[in-house]
Symmetry: C2
Subunit: 279 residues, 2 copies
Amino acid sequence: MTRQQLIEQIQAKKSCLCIGLDTDITLIPHFLLDYPDPVLEFNKRIIDATSDLCVAYKPNSAFYESRGIAGWQSLIDTWRHIPSDCLSIIDAKRGDIGNTSTMYAKAFFDEKSSGMSFDAITVAPYMGSDSVNPFLAFDEKWVILLAHTSNEGGGDFQLLKTDDRYLFEAVIDKANTWTGSDRLMYVMGATRPESFALIRKHAPDHFLLVPGIGAQGGNLQDVCRNGLNKDCGLLINASRSIIYASKGEDFAVRAREEAMKMQKEIALELERYNSLHAS
Amino acid sequence: MTRQQLIEQIQAKKSCLCIGLDTDITLIPHFLLDYPDPVLEFNKRIIDATSDLCVAYKPNSAFYESRGIAGWQSLIDTWRHIPSDCLSIIDAKRGDIGNTSTMYAKAFFDEKSSGMSFDAITVAPYMGSDSVNPFLAFDEKWVILLAHTSNEGGGDFQLLKTDDRYLFEAVIDKANTWTGSDRLMYVMGATRPESFALIRKHAPDHFLLVPGIGAQGGNLQDVCRNGLNKDCGLLINASRSIIYASKGEDFAVRAREEAMKMQKEIALELERYNSLHAS
């Protein structure tokens, strides 16, 4: 999915919601355990109940890998179920030396090789340019690079000062030399509202993938008011607060309600931004 | 495998060689393609031909993931074939927020959950303490944290100065507060001989996993003379130079010859260290 197509989806759906499929087999409704693949059944029903309200789905690779072969199969089949009008993001936080990153790219971008071809992958920056570039070698795929993450330890190194900048700013400045905002996004935790102005100095045009709303405590209005740009420029992720809204048979209905609540808040913020910036 | 058991293996085998199983199905001898699982067959023969010469095997997860379900099965079966007197390391470069790192730990440490239970995993530090600690919550397992990597981009961020230290030094200083040298190793590229003295200032006792010998151009003697400590303190990795020593039917014999060459060099360096430091 190109940047332009993503922007069109956001405008059509009045939403920049991304739903995180951090599907834990021990947390899904019990009745699903009777299905051949309970995780897949859960994901399908969540997707079917929410795909008009969001523009992206983000399976979290760890939750699938933890179940070995069975989990990997759930991941492949979940990818197949993500509708083509939604950006498919694999949250995998990969990154290694060049020939190894190429293999990771094949794992998630090359359907012939692995059975999956996501639109985008999250990548860790620590190993530098040649650990990221192999992902960009795949046409029309996105890299979503970790900048400033939502977790407590996200301050341990990302907030170290190098010269006059934080490390996460240095990461953005460097990565901006590798490719443009049509192939690269940054991860920016919703729990860091004070850093949004800073990130927008370094990456005014880029889309930011923003986790940390909901279970982690980030605030949607703060994120929008500090992060929106003329193309929206945000993908706001929620995982647990939507997918585990209920543990009963009504889980998909309740997930839809939670997603709609967020979509409506986002629509208001998009409208507010547009009216403030109307010429 | 405990630190003491690892040291005993090193002393018994006069070797600190780690063999990297970066097994690419397009690079293995053609006759193996007739086997039900060519990658597994290749790995088994490499392991059987070399396990008296090395103390660790390190499958590179990316090479298995790139082949989807089939690759994941090869990885599980390869793990089963690693003898118990060798440290089994999964080179996976994982790291994410706490609940997600716990899932990655289950993927590679919890046989009941995923079918595999490696002794050690490589972890990326960018997301900080709570991205690493979940791996340490598994008893008797090792974290091998990226410090200064062998690739060219390893300088992009790892060599940024924060106060009076490089970022990779700050990573080590911080990580040393999380656990001791009986559970934690550092990745230190062989292509960085000038940094070994520095890393030994911050981590005199830790084992260092050293990739970059062979195909990447690092020098074994330099690494030993700058990195050995009283317990050896090094795991020297070679992948391509050993496993692809021949593409013919003699590939395992040639792999053994290459491994033996390295083992002999290492044995000489261990002896040299001991005679220099004999009291």
